[in-house]
C-alpha cells in the first residue's frame, strides 16, 4: 500500500466510519438494538483501526505529516477552500485514543441501556460525537474545523436529551446547545476572519499569511485571535463557561464519558494546540488563556473536593484537566507543545473514561451516583474494587500511571520555563502544581467514599474479632443443629447456596472495556517511548517532582483525617455548606445564564412590538373599502379570469402582428 493510499484509507476509516455508523443507526436500525450495537461498535472499531493504520510507518519510513484531500475543494473567486485533512504524528495518536474510548463507550453503552428502547439513538449520537471530534482533530481547513465543532455540539445535545421524559432533560439539552451556539460566535467569526484575510481556508495558508511581518500587529488579527481563544476556552468548559458541561450530567453515563473524555473538550485542546503558534503572536490572546485556565484549575479542584455527586466531581475534574492541558499549551515552548500535550490528553481521556464507566456500573448496582449512596460501594460489590483503585490512583497522577507520566512531562517542562523568568510560565507552573495537589486530594476523597464501611459493618467486624478471643461453651444440641452435614466419609456435603447472586453484572464486552481502560490507565505512559511522543530536550526535574509528590501525599493524608468520624466517609462533610452548594450548582452558572438570556429576549420583545406597529399600516391600506386596490379586486371578482385570458390573447396577437 502506498503512503498516500494508506493515509486516505486511514482518514476515511477514522472519520467516515463513525459518522456512517451513526447514520445507519438512526435511519435503519432505530428499532433494532442488536443491529445498532453491532454497527456502532464496529464503526468505532473501524475508526480505531484507521488511526492505527495512520500511525503505522509506511515504506520503511516514519508516518510523518501527510495531507489528505477530504471533500472536493472549491475556488470561490479569489477565496480558496481546499477542504484538506492532515495526518500528523501527534494527531494520529490523539485520534487513536479518542477512538479507543469510543469503542469502549459503545461496548459499555449497550449493557448500560439494555432495556432502553432509545438505545439506538444514544449509540448514533455517540457515533456522531466520535466522528465529529475526529474531524476536528484531523482537519487542516478551518471550514472542516467549524463543521466538526458544530456537529460535536449537536451530538452532545442529542446525548443529553436522550431521555426526554426525565424532568429537565429537554431544557438541559436545549440550554447546552444554545450556549454552545452563542459561545461559538467568537470562535467562528475569529477563524473565518483569519481565513477571509488570508484568502484561503487552509490552515497552512492562514498561518503563512498572518505570520508575515506586521500582520500580527493588526487589530483584525488581535481580535480574531482573542475570539478563537475565547471560543476554545468556552468549548473547553473553562470558568466561567462551565454551564454546558454541567448540563451533560443528564446524558447516559457512558455517553458523558465520551463527551468529557473525548468530545468537545478534547477537540478544543487539539484546536488550541494546532493554532497556538499563530494565536500567541497576539499577546492578549495568550494572556486571556493563562488567566482563565489558572483560575479554572484552582476553582475546579476546590469544587471537585466539595461536590456531593460523583458525576459532578468528574465534571469538575474534566474542567481541571482541560485547564491544565490548555495551560501547558500556553506555557510550554511551541515546538515542544504537541509532544507534551499528547500524553496528558491521552491520560485525561483514559482516566475520565474509566471513572465514568465505573460510575455507570455503580449507578446500576446502587441506583445513584450521589456520594451518600456510593459510600462503601466496593465493600458490597467487590467486583468494582480493582477498577476504583486504579481510577483513584490515576486521578491522583501517582506513578506509574499514564497520568503521572503526562504530569511529569508538563510540570518539568513548565518548571524549566518558569526558571527562565517568564511570568506566565511561573504562574502556570504554580497552577499546575496546585492542580496536582488538589487532584490527589480528590482522588483520596473518592477512594475513601467508595471503600467506606458503615458503623454496622465496623461493629460486625469488631464483634467477629472479639468473638475469636472468647471461648464459650457449645451445647450438644447446638452442635448437632449448627454443624455442617457430612457424608459417609465424613466430608462436608456441599449445598447449593440458598441465595442466588442477583447483582447486575456487565456483559463480557463491557467488562473487557473496563479492563482495557484500566490497562491503558496503568501502562499507557509507555506512549512516550514512541518516537516523537516525548519532547526532544526533556530533562526531568526529580527534586521538584518529589516535592510535588510529597505535597500530594500530604493532601491525601489531610483528606483521610478529615474523613474520620463522618457518616459516609466523605471528607467534604467537613466543608462549609455554602461551598458544597456552590460546587453542586456549578458556581450558580444556570442562574447567570438565565439572566444573560435577557440580552436576547429583551431585543426580541422590542422588535416584536415594532413589528406589530408596522403590521397595522398596510392592513389599514388594503382593508379600506374605498382603496383603489380594493376596487381592482372587486372588478376582478365581477369579470373573472376571462379578462386575463383576453389580455393574454390580445398581447399574443399584437406580438405576432408586430413580428
Amino acid at each position: 500500500m502506498t503512503r498516500d493510499l494508506a493515509a486516505t484509507v486511514a482518514v476515511s476509516s477514522i472519520i467516515i466510519a463513525p459518522l456512517l455508523g451513526a447514520l445507519v443507526c438512526w435511519v435503519l436500525a432505530h428499532r433494532r438494538p442488536r443491529a445498532a450495537a453491532g454497527i456502532s461498535i464496529l464503526a468505532a472499531a473501524a475508526s480505531l483501526a484507521g488511526a492505527v493504520l495512520g500511525a503505522w510507518p509506511v515504506d520503511g519510513a516514519g508516518a510523518g505529516d501527510r495531507l489528505v484531500t477530504g471533500l472536493p475543494g472549491a475556488a470561490l473567486g479569489s477565496l480558496q477552500m481546499p477542504l484538506d485533512l492532515m495526518l500528523r504524528d501527534w494527531t494520529v495518536v490523539v485520534s487513536a485514543v479518542v477512538a479507543l474510548l469510543g469503542v469502549t463507550v459503545q461496548a459499555f453503552l449497550r449493557w448500560y441501556l439494555w432495556t432502553d428502547p432509545r438505545y439506538p439513538a444514544a449509540a448514533a449520537a455517540s457515533g456522531l460525537l466520535l466522528g465529529s471530534t475526529q474531524l476536528v482533530i484531523l482537519s487542516a481547513d478551518v471550514v472542516l474545523t467549524v463543521v466538526g465543532w458544530e456537529l460535536a455540539a449537536l451530538a452532545t445535545a442529542l446525548l443529553v436529551v436522550h431521555d426526554p421524559v426525565r424532568t429537565g432533560a429537554p431544557t438541559q439539552a436545549a440550554r447546552g446547545w444554545l450556549a454552545a451556539r452563542f459561545l461559538d460566535i467568537p470562535f467562528v467569526v475569529g477563524l473565518l476572519a483569519l481565513a477571509g484575510g488570508a484568502g484561503s481556508t487552509a490552515a497552512d495558508d492562514i498561518a503563512a499569511f498572518w505570520s508575515r511581518p506586521g500582520q500580527a500587529d493588526t487589530i483584525t488579527f488581535v481580535l480574531a485571535s482573542v475570539g478563537v481563544v475565547v471560543g476554545v476556552l468556552a468549548r473547553g468548559a473553562q470558568v466561567p463557561f462551565t454551564g454546558w458541561l454541567r448540563d451533560t450530567i443528564g446524558a447516559p453515563l457512558p455517553g458523558a464519558a465520551l463527551i468529557q473524555g473525548a468530545g468537545s473538550t478534547v477537540a478544543a485542546v487539539v484546536v488550541l494546540t494546532s493554532w497556538a503558534g499563530l494565536l500567541f503572536r497576539a499577546g492578549p490572546a495568550q494572556a486571556v488563556l493563562v488567566v482563565v485556565t489558572v483560575v479554572s484549575v484552582a476553582v475546579s479542584g476546590l469544587c471537585a473536593l466539595a461536590s456531593t455527586d460523583l458525576r459532578s466531581v468528574l465534571t469538575w475534574v474534566t474542567v481541571g484537566h482541560v485547564g491544565a492541558l490548555m495551560l501547558s499549551v500556553a506555557v510550554v515552548p511551541q515546538p515542544e507543545v504537541p509532544a507534551v500535550v499528547v500524553t496528558l490528553l491521552a491520560a485525561h481521556a483514559v482516566v475520565i473514561g474509566l471513572a465514568s464507566l465505573l460510575a455507570a456500573w455503580s449507578t446500576v448496582v446502587v441506583g445513584s451516583t450521589v456520594t451518600a449512596r456510593l459510600s462503601g460501594v466496593i465493600r458490597r460489590h467487590p467486583r468494582l474494587s480493582r477498577g476504583y483503585a486504579i481510577t483513584a490512583w490515576s486521578l491522583a497522577a501517582a506513578p506509574p500511571t499514564i497520568a503521572f507520566v503526562g504530569a511529569q512531562l508538563v510540570s518539568s517542562t513548565a518548571a524549566h520555563e518558569a526558571a527562565s523568568g517568564r511570568v506566565a510560565a511561573t504562574a502556570g507552573y504554580l497552577a499546575l502544581a496546585l492542580g496536582a495537589v488538589l487532584g490527589a486530594a480528590v482522588a483520596m476523597r473518592v477512594w475513601l467514599i467508595v471503600q467506606h464501611r458503615t458503623v454496622f459493618e465496623r461493629r460486625s467486624h469488631d464483634t467477629v474479632i472479639q468473638d475469636s478471643y472468647d471461648v464459650t461453651d457449645v451445647g450438644i444440641v447446638e452442635l448437632l443443629t449448627n454443624a455442617p452435614q457430612v457424608d459417609e466419609s465424613g466430608h462436608t456435603v456441599s449445598r447449593r447456596p440458598d441465595v442466588v447472586d442477583t447483582e447486575p453484572r456487565p456483559s463480557g464486552l463491557s467488562r473487557l472495556a473496563v479492563v482495557v481502560l484500566s490497562f491503558a490507565a496503568v501502562l499507557g505512559g509507555a506512549v512516550v517511548l514512541v518516537p516523537g511522543m516525548a519532547p526532544a530536550q526533556f530533562e526531568p526535574n526529580w527534586m521538584l517532582s518529589a516535592a510535588v509528590l510529597l505535597l500530594m501525599a500530604a493532601a491525601g493524608l489531610s483528606v483521610r483525617i478529615a474523613s474520620l468520624r463522618t457518616v459516609f466517609g466523605d471528607a467534604a462533610e467537613r466543608l462549609p455548606r455554602w461551598w458544597r452548594s456552590l460546587a453542586d450548582r456549578h458556581l450558580g452558572t444556570a442562574a447567570i445564564e438565565e439572566r444573560l438570556a435577557v440580552l436576547v429576549t429583551a431585543p426580541a420583545a422590542v422588535v416584536r412590538a415594532g413589528q406589530e406597529r408596522l403590521d397595522r399600516l398596510p392592513d389599514a391600506l388594503v382593508r379600506h373599502d374605498s382603496a383603489p386596490i380594493a376596487r381592482l379586486v372587486r372588478l376582478w371578482d365581477r369579470t373573472g379570469p376571462a379578462v386575463a385570458l383576453g389580455c393574454v390573447v390580445v398581447a399574443g396577437l399584437c406580438a405576432v402582428i408586430l413580428w
Binding site: 473567486g77 467569526v189 473565518l192
Partner: protein, 469 residues
C-alpha cells in the same frame, strides 16, 4: 429549441387552462385536472433537464425598432435554476394532487402555480434583459390569484384575512416588478455610467419589495398558516430565483458601479432581516398557533440572500444561488413538519434552517460570511465585516427559535395527539415520499457543497470580473 420553448410554455398554457377549467360550473373530474397538471409539470421537467444538459439557444428579432428580441438560452446559472424550478414545480403539483382540498381550489391553485413556474423559467432563460424584466411582471397576477384561491369550507374571517394578504402581495410584487422593469428600461434608453447609481437604486427598491426585506418584510411570513404548504414552496421559489438570475445578469453588468454604491444599503437591510427575523421567530417559537414562528425563517433566508448579493464577490453570488435553492427545500420540509406535526421532520427542518453542518443551509451561510469578510466592494469594509458577524449571531438566535419550537412541539405531544396529527400508518404514501425526497435533497445539498460552485463558477467569474462574452 422546442424543448427550450416547452420549458416555460407548457406550464404556462396548462396552468391557464386549469385556471379556466377551475372556474367552470360543471367541473372536470378532479383526477383529470390532477393528471393534466402532473403531466404538464413532468413534461416541462423532462424538457428542463434536457435543456440543462444540452444548453440550446434561440435568438429571434421581435421588435427591431425597439431593439427588442427573443433571445433565450441556458448559461451556467440557468443550467442550475431551470431544472431546480422544474423539479420544484413537479413536487408542488404532486403535493397539490395528493392534498385533500376542494376540486375548485385544486385546479385553480395548481394552474396558478404552473403559470408562476412557467414565467419564472422564462425569466431565467431569457438572455435579453428587457424580455426578462417584462416576463417578471407576469408573476404578479398568478401570485395574487394563488393566495386568493381559498378552500370551500373556510370561515369568513379566514377568507377576509387571505384576501387582505393577497392584496398586499399584489402591491408588493406589482411595485417590485415595476421597479425592476423601470431600471432595465432606464439602462436600455440611457446607456452610460452617469446613471448607474440611479439604476441600481431603482433595482434595489425592486429587490427589497420582491424579497420582502425590511421595512416591507411582514408579508411572506404571514402566508404561513394561511396558504397550504405547496403554495408556500411556490413562493419560496418565485420570485426569489428569477429575481436572482435577473439581478446577477443585469445588476453586475449593466450597473456594476451603481451596485457597488447601493451594496452597503442592501447589506444593512439583509442584516436587519437576518437579525430581526431571528428575533421575531424567537418570540413566536413557543406559540403553537403561529406555525412556531416558522414563517420568519423565510425572512432570515431572504436576508441571507441579500447579504450574499451585497458582497459583490463570486463567492457571495454563489452563496446566493445556494441560499435560494436551499430556501425552497427548507420551506418544503419545515412546512411539512408544521402541517403534519411530525417531530422528526420538524427537527430536521429546524436544524437545517439554523445552519447545522450536513444540511443545505450551512454551506451558503458559511460562504456568505467569508464573502462578506473578504468583500472588496465600495463602502466601509467595517460595515461588511459587521454584517458577517450579524450573520453568525443571527444563526445563534435562530437556534433559540429552533429550540423553543421543538420544545413547544414536544410538550404539545405529551398529552392527547393534536387535531392535525395523523398516525404514521394512516399517512398517504405520496406526501410521505415527497417529504422524504425533500429531506434527501436537503442532505445532498449539505453533503455536496462544491457541486453548485463548480456548475456556476464559469459564468459568475465572467460576469463579476466584467469580461465581455
Amino acid at each position: 429549441m422546442i424543448a427550450l420553448l416547452a420549458t416555460f410554455a407548457v406550464p404556462i398554457l396548462t396552468g391557464l387552462a386549469l385556471v379556466a377549467l377551475g372556474r367552470l360550473e360543471h367541473q372536470l373530474p378532479q383526477q383529470i385536472c390532477a393528471a393534466l397538471s402532473c403531466a404538464a409539470a413532468v413534461l416541462a421537467a423532462c424538457c428542463a433537464v434536457w435543456v440543462g444538459v444540452e444548453r440550446p439557444r434561440l435568438s429571434a428579432a421581435w421588435l427591431p425598432e425597439l431593439e427588442l428580441g427573443l433571445r433565450l438560452g441556458v448559461d451556467d446559472l440557468a443550467a442550475v435554476f431551470v431544472p431546480a424550478l422544474a423539479l420544484t414545480s413537479v413536487g408542488v403539483v404532486l403535493a397539490l394532487a395528493a392534498s385533500g382540498q376542494s376540486r375548485r381550489q385544486r385546479a385553480g391553485v395548481a394552474g396558478c402555480a404552473l403559470v408562476l413556474f412557467g414565467v419564472a423559467q422564462l425569466v431565467v432563460i431569457s438572455q435579453d434583459l428587457a424580455t426578462a424584466a417584462l416576463a417578471l411582471t407576469g408573476i404578479v397576477a398568478p401570485g395574487w390569484a394563488l393566495v386568493r384561491t381559498g378552500d370551500d369550507d373556510e370561515t369568513d374571517d379566514q377568507a377576509q384575512a387571505r384576501d387582505a394578504l393577497a392584496q398586499r402581495l399584489l402591491v408588493h410584487q406589482g411595485a417590485g416588478t415595476l421597479a425592476i422593469l423601470t431600471a432595465v428600461l432606464i439602462a436600455g434608453s440611457a446607456p452610460g455610467h452617469h446613471l448607474h447609481t440611479a439604476i441600481a437604486a431603482v433595482l434595489l427598491v425592486g429587490v427589497v419589495l420582491l424579497l420582502g426585506l425590511p421595512p416591507v418584510h411582514g408579508l411572506l411570513p404571514r402566508l404561513w398558516g394561511t396558504v397550504p404548504v405547496p403554495v408556500l414552496v411556490t413562493f419560496a421559489a418565485v420570485p426569489a430565483v428569477p429575481l436572482l438570475a435577473l439581478v446577477v445578469r443585469f445588476g453586475f453588468s449593466a450597473a456594476s458601479e451603481g451596485m457597488d454604491t447601493v451594496a452597503p444599503v442592501l447589506a444593512v437591510l439583509g442584516a436587519l432581516a437576518v437579525l430581526g427575523g431571528g428575533l421575531l421567530a424567537l418570540t413566536d417559537g413557543a406559540d403553537r398557533r403561529a406555525s412556531f414562528g416558522a414563517g420568519w425563517v423565510a425572512l432570515v433566508q431572504s436576508g441571507m440572500l441579500a447579504l450574499a448579493l451585497a458582497s459583490g464577490t463570486v463567492a457571495g453570488v454563489q452563496a446566493a444561488v445556494a441560499t435560494a435553492l436551499a430556501s425552497i427545500v427548507v420551506v418544503a420540509v419545515l412546512g411539512a413538519g408544521v402541517a403534519t406535526g411530525h417531530r422528526a421532520v420538524l427537527a430536521v427542518a429546524a436544524l437545517a434552517a439554523v445552519g447545522v453542518p450536513g444540511l443545505a443551509v450551512f454551506w451558503p451561510r458559511l460562504t456568505t460570511v467569508l464573502a462578506l469578510w473578504s468583500s472588496q466592494a465600495d463602502g466601509p469594509a467595517v460595515l461588511f465585516k459587521a454584517c458577517a458577524v450579524v450573520v453568525v449571531i443571527g444563526s445563534a438566535v435562530l437556534a433559540g427559535w429552533a429550540v423553543r419550537a421543538l420544545l413547544a412541539r414536544s410538550t404539545s405531544r405529551d398529552g392527547a395527539p393534536e387535531a392535525g396529527a395523523v398516525a404514521d400508518t394512516d399517512r398517504p404514501v405520496l406526501p410521505v415520499l415527497l417529504v422524504a425526497g425533500a429531506v434527501l435533497i436537503l442532505a445532498l445539498l449539505g453533503l455536496t457543497p462544491t457541486v453548485l460552485t463548480h456548475l456556476t463558477e464559469g459564468d459568475l467569474v465572467r460576469l463579476l470580473t466584467q469580461v465581455p462574452r
